[in-house]
C-alpha cells in the first residue's frame, strides 16, 4: 500500500501542521485529520495485529464502523481500544497499534464530564441529506428540533458522494442548511455527537465529544439525555465488504472509505487499485481515484454493467472485468495483488485464474441501512432480496426513517424522504396536541437537484467467494476480522446443529467485538442462511442493543464522582466532631462519628476508654441520625396499635414505650421507641437506616388500607438533634443543664419524657437507654445542636464527660443483647426469635404480623434464636460472620447451626463476646460450639443474649 497525501484538495488545513507519534515514531498531520487519515497520509497503512491469530491489521473504513484499526492512545490520557478512524488529530497525540488488547489508565482521569437534559418536539439523528432536509422542514414549520450527527460537521455523504447539489458541491448545500438552522431559536445542532441508545417514550441518550479536538476548559464529553416527542432516524448506511481468502490483509478497504480519504483528507490510498464490487456504488470511488491519478481496475460480479458506467470507465481509463470475483488477495503483510475467478463459477469448466497486481483493494458488497436505534426501539427488520440487506418493516409510532437508513436508493430520494419524514412527524405532533399547535404541519421545502453515482441497486447478492485450494486450509476467509471468525467456523456452528443466529453468534463470537458486527453481521446471516438452505429473512439477524458505539464509564458518571457520587448527610454537630478528631463511619448517606481517638490511641483503645466512661462516669453520643417520625391525629393511637406488635394506645402522655414492627409475615421490620406527647401526638423513632422506609410503610397502610384513619405522618429526623447522655453520673450533668427540671428518680422515671429548657434551649428529655446505663436523650431543634452539645461538654467536664461514637454505642448495646435490625436480623427473624416475646401483645385483636405467629413454622424447635457467645479463652476474638458448628474437626460439608451477627471486645465483661443467631439457640445456653471462619476457629460457650447487668439494675443509676 502506497498511500500518500496529495498537494491539493480536501478539507484539511495545510497551514496547521499537527505533530503526533504513532508506535514511537514522529509524524505530522494537518488540522482536520483523523489519526487514520494522518497515518495514511504519512504512508502508514498497516499496524497492530489481530487478537486470536496475530494477523496484520490495517484501516478498513473511515468511520464508526471500523472493524480493524484499533489503537491504544497513550497521551494525552491512556485509553484502550479506540478507533483510529474516529480520533481527531490533536497536537501531542501519542498512540500505537493494538495487539488485540489495550491498557487502562492507572492514574485518575483528569477529564471533566457532564450531562445535559433536553426536551424537544423532534429529534433528528444524522445530518446527511435526509437529516438536514427533515430538520429544515420541521424548523421552518416552527417546531423545536435537535439535530445530531457524529461527524465533525453536517453533510454526511453529501460531503463525499455528491458530485453536485443544485449545481454546487454538496458541502456548500450542507453549510447553507446549517446556517439556516442556526437562525431558528428553537433548533439545536450538535455535531461530534452520537446517539447511542433509544429507550421508552422518546428517551434518547447521546454522547457529545466537546474538547477532545481542541484545547479548552470545556468538559471533555457530555451525555445528552433527550426526551423527544418525535424521532427521525436518518442514520445512513454502512458499506459492507465481501468475504474472500486473505480478505483481512492491510490495503483492503471499503470502497466508500477510499472516497472519503480522498475527498476530505486529500489522501490517495493507493496507486494501483482494484475495485471489487457487486453493485453500482463503488464506481464513484473508482472514478474519483482514477481522476486523482490512480490506475484502476473494476472487478464486478455482475455479468452486465450499465452502459453509462461502462462509458464512464472508458472515459476515465478504468479497466472493467464484469462477471468476475476476487477469490483471494495476495501478499503477506499487505496486499500486493488479487487472484480473480469467473463469477459465478461453473463446475463444467475449470476456472481460468487471472492474477492482477495492486497495492489497494477496494471492496463493496452493498450497503446496510444503519437500523441500530430503530431496532432498539422495538422496530422489526426483514431481509430485502432486491437490495440484499435488512430493512425496516412497519414503522413505529413516533419513529420515522429517512434516507439510506430507510433504504431510499439515492441522494435525491434521501432529500425527499427526509422532508416526508419530518412532515409525518409534524402531523403526529399536531394530532397529539389537544389545543392548536404552536407549529404548522407543513412548510415549504424544494427538493434540490442532485448529480451522484450513488444508487443502491442493481446489486448482486454475494456474501463469500469460495476459496481456491491453496488458500482453503486453514480457512483465511474472515467474516469478523476483529474476532478472527472465518466462514469455516460459521459452517462448523451450523454443522453442530445451531440454527439460530443468536446461537451461532455465541458459538463463534461473531459480532461480539467492539464493532458489534456493524459490517460483518449481515454477511454472517447470509452465509449461515445459505448453509442452512433457508432464506435470510427466515434466519434473521442478531438483536441490536445499546450502546451503538462504546461509551466510557467516566461520561456516564459525569460529575457524579467523588464527593458528588452520593449525597452526604451530616448532623448539626458535625463540625465539632471534625474539630475534635473524630473518625467517621458511613451509615447510609450519614457521616457518623465512629470513635474519638486521643493521641496514640487505636480503635480498640479508644473504644475501651469510651465504654469505660459510659459504664462508670458519663459519656455522650451524637444520636441525631436516629429516624424520627411525627405522628399526629385523632386516630394516631389506633394506627400505631396496628403497626406495632405491642399496645401503644394505652401509653400515657409523657411516657415512652419500646416497640417492634413486623411485616404481615410476622418477621421483624424495625424497632424503636414511641413517645407520647399528647393524646393525638406521638414521636416514633426508627433505626437510622430505616427512617425513610418506615415513613413509606406508614403511608402505604394509611393510603391504601385505612384511608379512613385521621393520621398524618411527617419525617422530622433532620429537625432535631438527639444527644444521649449516658452513665451513672448523667443525672448530675442533666441537673446542671436543666436546673428547672426535676431529675429525681421519682419525678422522672425510666421511659418517661419531659419538656424542658436545656442549656437555655426549649427541648425535650426522654429517659431512654440503649446502653443499659442510666441515660437521657436530649432533643432540641437542629439549629441549636452545637450550642447544646457544647453545653453538655461544659457541664460534664468536671465529671470527665467523654464523647463516644458508633463503635462504642454498638459494644454497649450488644453487651445488653439489644439487636440491631438488619444486622442481627435478616427478614426471617420473628420477635420471639429475638427474645422480644414480651413486646408482643396478647390482648390486641389484630396487628400487622399477628396472624402469622399462629403458623406452625413459628413453633419449630430449630428456629434460629438470638443468643450471646463468649469465647472459652476470653482474649480470643470471635470472627464476625463466622459459621457456628458443633465440632472442631472441620470437614466439608458439615452441619451449620447459625452465624455470628455482631462481635466485639468488652471491657465490662473483660472478654471478647458476640451475638449470634443459632438454631434452637436458647436451649443450647451453656453448651460449647465452634465459630469457624476462614481466618480462625474459636471455641465458644453459648450464653443468654443479655451478658451484662441481666437484672437491669443500672438503668436507674
Amino acid at each position: 500500500m502506497t498511500a500518500r497525501r496529495l498537494a491539493t484538495g480536501g478539507t484539511i488545513d495545510r497551514s496547521v501542521p499537527i505533530p503526533f507519534t504513532f508506535g514511537g515514531v514522529d509524524y505530522t498531520g494537518f488540522a482536520g485529520d483523523t489519526l487514520a487519515s494522518a497515518l495514511l497520509g504519512a504512508g502508514v497503512g498497516a499496524f497492530g495485529s489481530s487478537v486470536r491469530l496475530g494477523r496484520a491489521r490495517g484501516i478498513v473504513s473511515a468511520g464508526t464502523e471500523e472493524s480493524s484499526a484499533l489503537v491504544q492512545v497513550e497521551a494525552p490520557f491512556a485509553e484502550p481500544m479506540l478507533l483510529a478512524t474516529t480520533i481527531e488529530l490533536t497536537p501531542g497525540l501519542a498512540a500505537r497499534g493494538l495487539t488485540g488488547q489495550g491498557r487502562l489508565a492507572t492514574e485518575p482521569d483528569p477529564g471533566r464530564y457532564d450531562a445535559r437534559h433536553a426536551h424537544t418536539e423532534l429529534l433528528v439523528v444524522g445530518a446527511g441529506a435526509a437529516g438536514l432536509s427533515a430538520a429544515l422542514v420541521a424548523a421552518r414549520a416552527g417546531a423545536s428540533v435537535i439535530l445530531i450527527d457524529d461527524d465533525v460537521t453536517v453533510g454526511g455523504s453529501l460531503l463525499d458522494y455528491a458530485e453536485t447539489v443544485d449545481g454546487q458541491p454538496g458541502a456548500v448545500w450542507a453549510a447553507a442548511a446549517r446556517a439556516e438552522l442556526d437562525t431558528f431559536p428553537r433548533v439545536r445542532v450538535l455535531t461530534r455527537t452520537t446517539a447511542f441508545g433509544i429507550y421508552d417514550d422518546g428517551f434518547v441518550l447521546a454522547i457529545e465529544h466537546r474538547s477532545d479536538h481542541v484545547t479548552s476548559t470545556r468538559s471533555r464529553q457530555r451525555i445528552w439525555r433527550i426526551r423527544t416527542q418525535q424521532i427521525v432516524l436518518a442514520t445512513g448506511g454502512y458499506e459492507r465488504p465481501i468475504v474472500f481468502a486473505n480478505n483481512d490483509l492491510p490495503g483492503i478497504m471499503l470502497a466508500s472509505a477510499a472516497q472519503v480519504y480522498l475527498e476530505r483528507f486529500a489522501v490517495l490510498a493507493g496507486e494501483t487499485v482494484v475495485v471489487f464490487t457487486t453493485n453500482d456504488t463503488a464506481y464513484g470511488p473508482a472514478f474519483a481515484l482514477a481522476a486523482a491519478g490512480a490506475s484502476v481496475t473494476v472487478v464486478d460480479t455482475r455479468p452486465e454493467i450499465s452502459a453509462a458506467l461502462i462509458s464512464g470507465c472508458r472515459t476515465a481509463g478504468i479497466t472493467t472485468k464484469s462477471g468476475h470475483a476476487v477469490q483471494a488477495a495476495l501478499g503477506d503483510s499487505a496486499v500486493t495483488g488479487v487472484q480473480l475467478t469467473p463469477w459465478p463459477g461453473t463446475t463444467a469448466e475449470p476456472p481460468q485464474e487471472v492474477t492482477l497486481p495492486c497495492d489497494l483493494l477496494l471492496v463493496s458488497g452493498g450497503w446496510n441501512p444503519v437500523l441500530h436505534l430503530f431496532s432498539q426501539a422495538t422496530g422489526r427488520l426483514r431481509f430485502d432480496e432486491t437490495l440484499a440487506t435488512f430493512v425496516a418493516t412497519a414503522a413505529i409510532p413516533g419513529v420515522h426513517l429517512a434516507g439510506l437508513a430507510a433504504a431510499q436508493a439515492d441522494l435525491a430520494a434521501a432529500f425527499a424522504g427526509g422532508a416526508e419524514a419530518a412532515r409525518a412527524a409534524l402531523t403526529e405532533l399536531s394530532a397529539a396536541r389537544a389545543e392548536p399547535g404552536r407549529h404548522r404541519t407543513h412548510s415549504s421545502f424544494e427538493i434540490p437537484t442532485v448529480v451522484s453515482h450513488f444508487a443502491l441497486h442493481p446489486i448482486e447478492q454475494v456474501w463469500a467467494i469460495p476459496a481456491p485450494t491453496e488458500f482453503a486450509d486453514p480457512d483465511v476467509r474472515f467474516v469478523d476480522v476483529q474476532r478472527d471468525v472465518t466462514v469455516s467456523e460459521l459452517l462448523r456452528a451450523t454443522g453442530a446443529g445451531l440454527s439460530a443466529m443468536e446461537h451461532v453468534k455465541r458459538y463463534t463470537t461473531l459480532g461480539t467485538a467492539l464493532d458489534q458486527g456493524k459490517t460483518s453481521g449481515v454477511i454472517g446471516s447470509g452465509i449461515v442462511a445459505a448453509a442452512l438452505g433457508i432464506a435470510v429473512t427466515a434466519l434473521g439477524t442478531t438483536t441490536f442493543r445499546p450502546p451503538f458505539t462504546p461509551v466510557s464509564f467516566a461520561v456516564l458518571a459525569g460529575a457524579d464522582r467523588g464527593e458528588l457520587f452520593d449525597p452526604v448527610r451530616v448532623t448539626a454537630i458535625h463540625d465539632w466532631h471534625v474539630a475534635h478528631g473524630a473518625l467517621f463511619e458511613d451509615v447510609g448517606q450519614w457521616k457518623r462519628p465512629w470513635y474519638y481517638p486521643l493521641a496514640g490511641e487505636d480503635l480498640d483503645a479508644a473504644v475501651a476508654r469510651e465504654c469505660t466512661a459510659a459504664r462508670t462516669t458519663v459519656a455522650c453520643l451524637d444520636g441525631s441520625t436516629l429516624g424520627k417520625i411525627d405522628v399526629q391525629g385523632p386516630d394516631a393511637g389506633a394506627f400505631l396499635d396496628m403497626l406495632y406488635t405491642n399496645l401503644i394506645s394505652s401509653l400515657k402522655v409523657g411516657s415512652v414505650r419500646y416497640g417492634v414492627m413486623c411485616s404481615p409475615d410476622g418477621m421483624v421490620k424495625d424497632d424503636g421507641t414511641v413517645i407520647r406527647l399528647a393524646d393525638d401526638h406521638f414521636i416514633v423513632t426508627t433505626t437510622t437506616g430505616n427512617a425513610a422506609s418506615i415513613l413509606d410503610w406508614m403511608e402505604e397502610w394509611l393510603q391504601t388500607e385505612w384511608p379512613e384513619l385521621r393520621v398524618f405522618a411527617t419525617s422530622v429526623t433532620e429537625h432535631f438533634v438527639t444527644i444521649p447522655l449516658v452513665g451513672p453520673l448523667s443525672r448530675q450533668v442533666l441537673a446542671i443543664l436543666a436546673p428547672e427540671l426535676d431529675v429525681s428518680l421519682a419525678a422522672f422515671p425510666f421511659m418517661a419524657t419531659r419538656a424542658a429548657t436545656i442549656a437555655g434551649i426549649e427541648g425535650r428529655v426522654d429517659r431512654i437507654s440503649f446502653s443499659g446505663e442510666l441515660a437521657y436523650e436530649l432533643n432540641v431543634p437542629a439549629w441549636a445542636g452545637t450550642a447544646l452539645w457544647e453545653a453538655v461538654m461544659a457541664a460534664g467536664e468536671p465529671f470527665g464527660i467523654t464523647p463516644y461514637g458508633t463503635e462504642t454505642m454498638h459494644v454497649l448495646r450488644a453487651e445488653k443483647g439489644y439487636p440491631i435490625i438488619g444486622q442481627d436480623t435478616d427478614g426471617t427473624v420473628s420477635p420471639f426469635d429475638l427474645g422480644l416475646g414480651w413486646a408482643v401483645s396478647q390482648k390486641k385483636v389484630d396487628f400487622i404480623g399477628k396472624r402469622s405467629f399462629a403458623r406452625a413454622v413459628n413453633d419449630r424447635a430449630d428456629r434460629k434464636e438470638l443468643v450471646g457467645l463468649l469465647p472459652v479463652d476470653p482474649t480470643v476474638a470471635i470472627p464476625d460472620g463466622a459459621q457456628l458448628v458443633e465440632s472442631a474437626d472441620i470437614t466439608f460439608p458439615m452441619p451449620m447451626f447459625g452465624h455470628v451477627s455482631s462481635a466485639y471486645r468488652s471491657v465490662a465483661l473483660d472478654s471478647h463476646f458476640a451475638l449470634a443467631l443459632v438454631k434452637g439457640g436458647r436451649a443450647r445456653i451453656g453448651q460449647r460450639m465452634f465459630a469457624w471462619s476462614e481466618e480462625s476457629l474459636v471455641e465458644v460457650t453459648v450464653a443468654d443474649a443479655v451478658l451484662y447487668d441481666s437484672e437491669g439494675a443500672r438503668k436507674d443509676g
Partner: protein
C-alpha cells in the same frame, strides 16, 4: 426510561416510582378467622398474568401518593391509572386493545433470539 402517568402529577420518569404489586388484595378484615392456607394466600400468592394487570404504584419521588394502574405486562404500557379506592376497571376492555408492540415484546421474550449482546 419509561414515563409513568401519575394521576396526580402527570407523566413522570419511572425512577420516581415504586412498584407495589397486585392491586385489590385488601388486608383481610379478620385475619384470625382465616386458615393457614388462606392466610398464606394473602401473604405469598399473587397473580402473574400475561397482559393487562391491575397493580399498585407509589409516586415516592413526587406526590408520595399511592395509586392503582392497569399495565400490560407484555409491553409495559400503562393502560389506565386510578385512585386506590376506585373500583378496578374492566380488564376485558383492555384485552381487546392490546398494542402491536406488546405482541412483539412477547414473542421476543419467548424466542431464542432474546439475549444480551455479548
Amino acid at each position: 426510561m419509561q414515563l409513568i402517568p401519575c394521576p396526580n402529577c402527570g407523566r413522570r420518569e419511572e425512577i420516581e416510582f415504586h412498584y407495589g404489586g397486585q392491586a385489590h388484595v385488601p388486608y383481610p378484615a379478620e385475619p384470625a378467622a382465616l386458615g393457614d392456607a388462606e392466610w398464606a394466600d394473602y401473604l405469598f400468592f399473587r397473580d402473574n398474568p400475561k397482559g393487562p394487570f391491575a397493580e399498585r404504584w407509589y409516586h415516592s419521588g413526587g406526590c408520595r401518593r399511592w395509586f392503582n394502574a392497569v399495565r400490560d405486562t407484555r409491553s409495559y404500557r400503562f393502560l389506565a391509572v386510578y385512585q386506590p379506592d376506585a373500583p378496578r376497571p374492566d380488564i376485558a376492555q383492555f384485552m381487546a386493545a392490546a398494542p402491536p408492540v406488546a405482541a412483539d415484546r412477547a414473542s421476543a421474550a419467548s424466542s431464542a433470539t432474546n439475549a444480551v449482546t455479548r
